[in-house]
Symmetry: C3
């Protein structure tokens, strides 16, 4: 039986990235009971960090939105891996916590993080509606503009 | 039967705010099993952000304490909504993560966040004692001084 | 029967610190179901904060690694307390979220946080492999360089 969510991804023209592997003594996700905790995902494209810098300095809100969407794609790729390849088994995106690299005068973190929130609902419908935390950070790993961690409820 | 917690709120003279509605593709809280994950709450009063700016710059510790307490009131309002209007069904405040907008030389985040921690125990007694994370952020949405997310265990 | 993990700690020459007590209306950890949420731990040694300052300014990466390891020791001390003194009852380190005090141009948070990640696997083996979030912060409580919170699955 074909996956409903895979069909939806195809319809949207979205190819999820290869989920990033563990690069140290941590892992991309841990499942405990019905919950999957996914490590902070960066805006990786073809395995390389993109959208570098800070909001309020060299980056505009639309750059941040793109970075957040890329983080979201990587979160979905990890969630799919955690579900043995079948995103239909995601019952709910429980919470996303998003860190936006920015200057002290930048206060549009919510607009930036919508790049990830919108993606979740595009792909998963109501199951994609999540609790959310959006905050600023002075800097992030590899100089990326956005990092997002996620908690998922799965079958 | 009257709610024990509502009676306590009345005794303390606390009227919880109307919980903020979803403003995008995210929601104020998600329940999964016995846990409720509440989105990052801002110091809203009458639906408007108050206590704007940064600790260590234009704001003093007592301003931050007020902001944290307002975040806490909004967290309780969301928790009440998640419990169908009955805060007696909150078994435990599990964890609060608090972000304090501040300058690089400000290190009194714990004093600020006590504004929310103290409120939880005032209202919920021992069930209000929580694990806590208090950190700095260069800036927060809408220029607010504090943002706090919470995890609650409910009946 | 001797604890496997205590034997491993002895073999590594590691003495866990006395877990820091609650200092306000919050507590060092809360258990809910099989999960233990531990409060943000600081690099305390003998109960005193050490490794003060920011990465990218007065501190080098190796200082940060030491701070992260100290946070990790304090996380393990709290997890042990949550398990009634027996770390063998930790089934899995689920997730660590690490905040690194740093300047806006510092982007080596992952190297810093490895100080805690490596410790978890040294002490707990595969059960120590966790999901991870590593981000920057402009400043942290008591001017410490690193703060880490943890979620553990326990028996």
């Amino acid at each position: 039986m074909a996956s409903r969510t895979e069909a939806r991804l195809a319809e949207l023209g979205i190819a999820l990235p290869v989920p990033a592997a563990a690069v140290a003594n941590y892992v991309p996700y841990v499942r405990t009971g019905a919950l999957v905790f996914v490590s902070g995902q960066l805006p990786l494209e073809g395995g390389k960090p993109v959208v570098l810098g800070r909001l309020g300095a060299e980056l505009a809100v639309e750059d941040g939105v793109r970075a957040a969407r890329l983080c979201g794609l990587n979160l979905l790729a990890q969630a799919r891996a955690a579900c043995g390849g079948d995103l239909d088994r995601v019952r709910r995106v429980v919470r996303l916590t998003a860190f936006v690299a920015c200057t002290p005068d930048f206060t549009d973190q919510p607009k930036v993080v919508n790049g990830a929130s919108d993606l979740m609902v595009e792909v998963l419908g109501d199951a994609g509606r999540h609790a959310r935390v959006a905050v600023g950070a002075p800097s992030l790993p590899l100089n990326v503009a956005v990092e997002i961690e996620g908690v998922f409820e799965v079958e």
